[in-house]
């Protein structure tokens, strides 16, 4: 893909005021969403710790409580990284729109790419695990 666009991308594209407005608005909402995401991460982590420690009354065994608690904690960690990338995208883009700093703009857009890539890879892994789970369930059910 890089080779294909080498000629087309040889010159810098000027960021028009309309582009800048849309990008700034996206960055403001992105920052808000990232903060909501960080809060959700903390809530998930607290929930996971609570279930692992004191959730025994709600479950049949300590093992079940621990499994659920660890699952919550892993989900919180997985959820943290896209929020971090989104926060970096937002703060860098907003800084770029304030100061016209080229490095900040580029860093922001790279973080946007990292966010989508991370979510994409995690989604693909989840889908593969789901499919494998269904296949194993069918195999074990047919025995």
């Amino acid at each position: 893909m890089n080779n294909l666009n080498q000629d087309l991308l040889s010159n810098d594209l000027i960021v028009t005021p309309a582009m800048q407005d849309n990008l700034s608005a996206a960055a403001k909402w992105g920052r808000f969403l990232a903060i909501v995401g960080f809060i959700t991460c903390v809530l998930m982590l607290i929930g996971g710790l609570w279930v692992a420690n004191k959730g025994l009354g709600y479950f049949y065994s300590q093992q079940q409580a621990m499994t659920l608690g660890i699952t919550y904690a892993v989900m919180a960690v997985l959820f943290f990284f896209p929020c971090l990338f989104l926060f970096k995208f937002s703060t860098n883009t907003l800084e770029a729109s304030r100061t016209s700093n080229q490095d900040s703009l580029e860093s922001g857009i790279v973080n946007l790419k990292l966010m989508f890539r991370f979510i994409g890879i995690v989604t693909l892994i989840m889908i593969i695990l789901y499919v494998l789970g269904i296949i194993f369930a069918v195999i074990f059910a047919s025995r």
Partner: protein, 133 residues
């Protein structure tokens, strides 16, 4: 790294590296958008085929609208962002970048609203749970 002064303008510019990063983000965003659209259409189709689970057509309509706002609309906006960003990056068209960033803004607005509502619902339901427990 590129300096705006090199382009003879005070306006910031998108360097080739930044455009490439946008192109890569568009590729992943298109995949995520497509998965979201396909998943939500499957869920809505399966629900529509089981009208008996709902008391009335209105029940399904409310479900479809809520589900559409939570999953289908952000997925569509993500897909739109991906398409526009790809066209803009390959063709070097700033008008398409406008529309791409507008779609990205819409996607982030809806996700923010849904996230906020989910946290509020979580807090309200937790309080109800605590008061009953």
């Amino acid at each position: 790294m590129h300096n705006p002064s090199q382009t003879g303008s005070n306006q910031p510019t998108l360097s080739p590296e930044a455009v490439n990063a946008l192109l890569a983000s568009a590729t992943w965003a298109r995949m995520l958008g497509l998965l979201g659209i396909i998943g939500s259409v499957i869920v809505l189709g399966m629900t529509a085929s089981k009208f008996g689970k709902y008391d009335s057509i209105e029940g399904y309509a409310i479900f479809a609208i809520v589900f559409g706002i939570i999953v289908l609309l952000p997925s569509f906006l993500l897909f739109r962002y991906a398409g526009k960003a790809k066209v803009a990056a390959i063709g070097g068209r700033t008008d398409q970048f406008d529309e791409a960033f507008n779609a990205l803004k819409g996607f982030l607005v809806i996700c923010s609203m849904v996230g906020l509502l989910l946290i509020l619902a979580y807090i309200v339901l937790s309080n109800i749970g605590w008061s009953k427990g």
